[in-house]
């Protein structure tokens, strides 16, 4: 802590002292990033080229063998399919519904504030709590949903989470339920930055509500829409907590996501090399999808 000594000395000497203390300021983060982020990224790439299993005597270098096995691994392809469907459906659902709700709740009154709070509230609940509550809400024996359907005369309610065809759509619906308020808030913040005279000008030109929405609101919201779409896509591709809590990946892998499979390989079967290869494939997919979305957004901006 030498740099903390009184520094009323000559200003010329100070430049050297400042040079020193800057390193003290960045030291904790630099050490943590080096040990727990940067080095692990390289190590993960290295491990993905090995048959690296905890508990085995040696971990031989196998080149791209893990990636080749992944290419032929039908369980991995299934996980990719599940993740892609979930991501596409939740992203579209949460952005479209979030936009619809935001434009309805755009003006601030006591009741619209109340409704905004309601929609935004699931944001603070963990995905795990949301998953647990919905899992039992949809339970055939104790769940409220099937009980109410029974009261309405539905004798054979759908097997929400027990059916291989319905489990993924159910998880998707809960994903949208959880995230729609997040999109709504970001879009509301974006809407508040649209200058009011733009709307007045549009009204003077005789534009109706729908025309005002498409000609004024949507173009102004483009950055906010891009932001929510990107975030929804990236978090969707990393789907884990919700399926872990709701279905555990079942029934018969029908809701097993990529990260779920990574967890299974890495931390249940301890095949760390294989799990690392899965992580890298996921990383590349996330990079590619984000790059495409940014490119599309930029091209549209060029019009």
């Amino acid at each position: 802590m030498t740099s903390l000594s009184p520094s009323s000395g000559a200003p010329r000497r100070r430049s050297r002292r400042r040079f020193n203390s800057a390193y003290l300021f960045v030291a904790p983060s630099v050490v943590l990033i080096a040990v727990f982020i940067a080095e692990p990224i390289l190590q993960s790439a290295w491990m993905s080229l090995h048959d690296w299993t905890i508990g085995s005597a040696d971990n031989p270098f196998t080149g791209l063998a893990n990636y080749r096995s992944l290419w032929q691994d039908s369980r991995f392809w299934n996980a990719l399919r599940v993740t892609a469907i979930y991501t596409a459906a939740v992203t579209v659902g949460q952005v479209v519904l979030g936009l619809a709700i935001a434009s309805r709740l755009r003006r601030t009154t006591w009741y619209s504030s109340l409704l905004r709070t309601a929609y935004f509230f699931p944001f603070v609940a963990s995905l795990v709590v949301v998953g647990i509550v919905w899992k039992f809400l949809l339970d055939p024996q104790v769940g409220l949903i099937d009980a109410w359907l029974g009261d309405l005369g539905v004798s054979n309610p759908p097997q929400w989470l027990q059916s291989t065809s319905l489990a993924l759509p159910t998880v998707i619906a809960v994903g949208i339920w959880k995230n729609v308020g997040f999109t709504m808030i970001v879009l509301l913040a974006g809407m508040q930055q649209v200058p009011a005279d733009l709307y007045e000008a549009a009204m003077l030109d005789g534009a109706g509500p729908w025309r005002r929405f498409t000609a004024v609101t949507l173009p102004a919201l483009r950055p906010a829409l891009l932001f929510t779409t990107l975030i929804a896509t990236i978090t969707g591709l990393q789907l884990f907590d919700l399926v872990f809590a709701m279905t555990g990946g079942g029934p018969v892998f029908s809701t097993e996501s990529v990260v779920m499979y990574l967890y299974e390989k890495g931390f249940v079967e301890f095949q760390m090399g294989y799990a690392s290869a899965i992580a890298w494939v996921l990383f590349i997919i996330i990079l590619a999808v984000s790059a495409v979305q940014l490119r599309v957004a930029r091209n549209r901006d060029g019009d």
């Binding site: 520094s7 800057a22 993960s44 509230f121 603070v124 963990s126 509550v133 039992f136 975030i231 931390f267």
Partner: protein, 305 residues
């Protein structure tokens, strides 16, 4: 179809409300107005029903947490218990080391957030205000790590923690998460917008780097620090995969992991589970209702979920 007509400004001016032509048949403007009112009414109804569908599961969770399992099985269609009991709360304290789990979650979320804000703000200060060799390289490195998903580093970091002997410990949970590239980035952007005259005046008065950081920069960054604190604390309080991997012993788990594993036991006590879920949600729910502004700001600026 209506949209293509509306692209001509004159056509748009002709119909003030911009209704599609189908509505023009009988008393066009009145019909259009009625349709507009009706549309607005229906859309309000949908929005209100949607909000009810958001709130209902939380009310049900509370209701189940405060009734006995027998009561629930007898009439699952009832949202609220007939008789409120503390059965669920007692049962969850009994069946899980619940107080310990709450303490673990507080230590993990609170400790990590405090260290993270300290380290991130120090680094951001150096990046924004001090000159040193390697500054640009460091900033580029930080931006680069921002793009890598957490899952890529999870396996090697787990092995590192294992070699340190830090599995099932607070330091293992906290220290690897005690800095974040996103936090550094956001704070650096904010610090750069603060007027430089503030530092220069302090330096003329003899302040050194540390004093400028602690007395000038941090007090002026209170709003963004508060926002980051709340958003980070909430994210860590709700974090699942990281604590699940690092602490497998029940006594070192955090609430999300422990509740999930508890919920997948067969024949789980529903009211204990829902009471546990409700209690785990309470601190953030209260913070949210009191400090909603900060959550909104945090979400709009950081996108952390």
């Amino acid at each position: 179809m209506a949209t293509s007509e509306l692209t001509s400004p004159r056509a748009a001016a002709g119909r003030r409300n911009g209704r599609p032509p189908a509505l023009r048949s009988g008393g066009p403007r009145r019909l259009a107005r009625i349709a507009g009112r009706l549309g607005a009414g229906v859309s309000w109804l949908v929005v209100v029903v949607g909000a009810a569908a958001i709130v209902l599961p939380f009310l049900w969770m509370l209701g189940v947490g405060f009734r006995t399992s027998g009561d629930l099985y007898a009439d699952p269609a009832r949202l609220w218990p007939d008789q409120w009991t503390l059965h669920g709360v007692r049962a969850v304290l009994d069946q899980l080391p619940f107080t310990r789990l709450i303490v673990n979650t507080f230590v993990f979320a609170g400790g990590t957030t405090v260290l993270l804000l300290l380290f991130d703000s120090m680094t951001a200060f150096a990046l924004a205000r001090l000159r040193f060799r390697g500054r640009n390289a460091l900033f580029v490195l930080i931006l680069a790590t921002l793009m890598v998903p957490f899952q890529v580093t999870l396996v090697p970091v787990f092995l590192t923690i294992y070699h340190f002997g830090w599995l099932n410990s607070y330091q293992g949970l906290i220290i690897p998460r005690a800095t974040s590239a996103l936090g550094i980035f956001l704070l650096r952007q904010f610090f750069q917008q603060l007027p430089r005259e503030l530092d220069e005046a302090a330096r003329i008065d003899g302040a050194n780097d540390f004093t400028v950081y602690w007395r000038i920069i941090l007090p002026n960054a209170k709003p963004i620090l508060a926002t980051l604190f709340i958003i980070q604390f909430a994210a860590l309080w709700n974090d699942f995969l990281w604590p699940l991997v690092i602490s497998s012993q029940t006594r070192m788990q955090t609430l999300p992991a422990a509740l999930t594993l508890f919920s997948s036991q067969s024949g789980v006590d529903h009211s204990a589970l829902m009471a546990g879920a409700a209690i785990s949600l309470t601190p953030l729910a209260i913070a949210f209702l009191l400090l909603q502004r900060y959550f909104v700001q945090g979400v709009a600026t950081t996108g952390i979920k």
